[in-house]
Amino acid sequence: MTELTKPEPTTVYIKASSGFAALNLGDLWHYRELIWFMIWRDIKVRYKQTALGAAWAVLQPVLTMLVFNFLFGNIAKMETDGGIPYPIFSYTALLPWGLFATALNSASRSLTSNQNMITKTYFPRLVLPMASVLGGLLDFAIAFVVLIGLMFYYGITPGVNALWALPLFILLSIVTALGIALWLSAINVQYRDVGYALPFLSQFWMFVTPIAYSSSVISEQWQVVYALNPMAGVVNGFRWALLGVGNPPDLLIGISAAISVLILVTGLVYFRNMERTFADTI
């Protein structure tokens, strides 16, 4: 045994927390390796025992795009901004939406699907929703390759703005998904209603986000209200950065960002407060 270099053990003080619990992000940092391991596990097992494997990461947005193209492009003859072909117009929106929807869905269920970890061992519970949200990035990256192909096909060159704008918008959708998921996953521990409500929530959210349509159909006086949905800002931002259509980010994106940070912070506080009873109520 190599006991010679054993560091002084750390002392842990356990007591009933009262009032608002401290966020204790230092503890989360200490367990950062676990976040990576959980992401790695999710990715490893995601397409296990499927015939098509990781192709599903591409097929899901592509099939949705084809359906949208048929319904809204061919039948409804929906107008796009600046005459961009409908397939790439919708696919550009489906990418960040897919990232958001998958993250929201899996993170909201992350606590209940890892029940035995929670009832048997200690770790900062935040690890679970965080890992679920980040795990969606790989699928996003795979689906992104198809977008590059589509852009070649339609001869569209993205502006240099994409270099700084895309990471920011990806971050915004992740922050939004995590914020909502913190609320929902904590509620889900006690009330499994969340599992039933989630499909409706994401469907509804998809309709109020300009994915199948252009946000220019929303009249001017409603734009501020529309900006309350951070995903609307993300989708418009993606289109602006990659396809060069629509307005550049303005004050409205500031409102979106403020909203999602607000959701994240309140979500963190709520999650931390419910965390102490997770093992008892799950």
Partner: protein, 432 residues
């Protein structure tokens, strides 16, 4: 000496029975009203408020009540107590799985627990991958796991299948691998809770060996078990938990004795309170278990040379088919002496194939000249073979056997073995 664990007045309250009560007294109207109220209750509870609703929030239970103790570094402490006494809750608080309602705990060092065996194992991942994942969940660093990897694989005896998904493993292999990871965590404080009940004998031996190693390396161990012989063998000191309270802390033999004597309404009799009987025992309700001497008196000390009567009194709230009520007899060292059921006789089993609801006593006699002197433990089991085990209490009652009048008593020596039969020796001189 440094203190490894300092527990100060911890209490833990659980809410019970909300779901259980809900449909039990099933009037449809109540259920409908309850369902209609649900959304409002939900909205209020999200913000930690409880709507006034008499009869609904009645159920609280204190799983731990003002428990305090210190444990020095490098000591091995046994924890004994009946089911529901708060042992597992105590361990959960110590390993930070759940927060105490009141009080505080100071723990010096990492707490590793063998109740976490296999936590986070994913069936689709290979043995190798699960070792890393499980190690990370238990709080090990990647480098630490890599350094111990070979040792873990060797201990688990699944080297051949290390790159096979664990869903293809037999349950024994799965368990060995899971235990191997937990056993190599090398925490400053190790918590062991009854894992020894699983796995084959050879593997159990290895587990106990590992626990001994850990203790020998001067690390602190908390050991919970219903197996008194394991507690006696592995610990020098033990605490006894009763209904959420720490009722005794003493050198292990004394604590074990205290535990075995507790719950006895009078010497030689064990009675069960309603809250000691799990709901799963329905419709069987144990009432009492008694040992009586040859004169019919309930006694704590009985003579080896006289017959002993065992009486198990119970109630059936519904007819039960195929019921057998029986006892296990074992020594305080944990060796079984015998197992016997009231319908072991095939004709009797035929006759009592279905027992109607009612109040029963099953009794039998242990013949004279069977048991050696010493202390014995009676366990109770009520089950329908292959169908259901209604009730079991392995440490129901303890009693002493006095050797007065037993064979060989004219030598003041302790006889080996749990039985002391009076055998018909014949001495022949074969020279003739």
């Amino acid at each position: 000496m440094t203190i490894a664990i300092k527990v100060e007045n911890i209490s833990k309250r659980y809410k019970i029975g909300l779901a259980a009560q809900k449909f039990q007294y099933g009037m449809l109207r109540d259920v409908l009203v309850d369902t209609a109220k649900a959304p409002f209750r939900f909205a209020a509870s999200l913000f930690g408020k409880q709507l006034e609703d008499p009869g609904r929030n009645a159920g609280y239970i204190w799983a731990l009540k003002d428990v305090s103790f210190d444990l020095e570094e490098g000591k091995v402490l046994g924890i004994v107590g009946r089911n529901g006494a708060g042992k597992s809750t105590l361990l959960k608080v110590l390993s930070r799985v759940t927060e105490p309602t009141r009080g505080s705990v100071t723990v010096r060092g990492r707490v590793g627990s063998l109740l976490e065996v296999g936590t986070g194992f994913h069936p689709e991942l290979t043995g190798r991958e699960n070792i890393f994942l499980n190690g990370a969940i238990l709080g090990m660093k990647r480098a630490e796991i890599a350094a111990k990897f070979d040792e873990i694989v060797e201990f688990s005896e699944v080297a051949q299948f290390i790159d096979t998904p664990v869903k293809r493993y037999s349950s024994g292999m799965y368990l060995r691998l899971a235990f191997a990871v937990a056993a190599h965590l090398e925490p400053e404080i190790l918590v062991v809770d009854e894992v020894l009940a699983v796995g084959d004998a050879e593997f159990q031996r290895k587990c106990l060996g590992k626990m001994n190693d850990v203790a020998a390396q001067g690390r602190t161990v908390l050991f919970v078990s219903h197996n008194m012989s394991a507690i006696l063998r592995l610990t020098q000191e033990a605490i006894v938990m009763q209904k959420g309270q720490l009722v005794k802390r003493a050198p292990t033999p004394e604590a074990v004795d205290f535990y075995l004597a507790s719950g006895q309404a009078q010497a030689g009799e064990r009675t069960w309170d309603a809250d000691e009987v799990p709901a799963s025992a329905m419709p069987f309700t144990p009432l009492s278990l008694r040992v009586k001497d040859a004169r019919g008196g309930v006694a704590d000390t009985l003579r080896s040379a006289e017959p002993i009567t065992l009486e198990m009194e119970y109630r059936l709230d519904a007819p039960v088919t195929g019921l057998r009520v029986g006892v296990y007899l074992s020594t305080v060292r944990g060796e079984y002496v015998f197992t016997s059921f009231d319908v072991d006789d095939a004709a009797l089993y035929e006759k009592h194939s279905t027992r109607p609801a009612g109040h029963y006593v099953s009794k039998c006699q242990i013949p004279a000249d069977l048991l050696n002197e010493g202390r014995y433990i009676l366990g109770v089991n009520a089950s329908s073979f292959g169908v259901k085990r209604y009730f079991m209490d392995e440490n129901a009652l303890a009693f002493n056997i006095d050797p007065i009048g037993a064979p060989g008593i004219h030598w003041a020596e302790q006889r080996q073995g749990p039985i002391r039969p009076r055998l018909d020796w014949v001495i022949e001189n074969v020279d003739k």
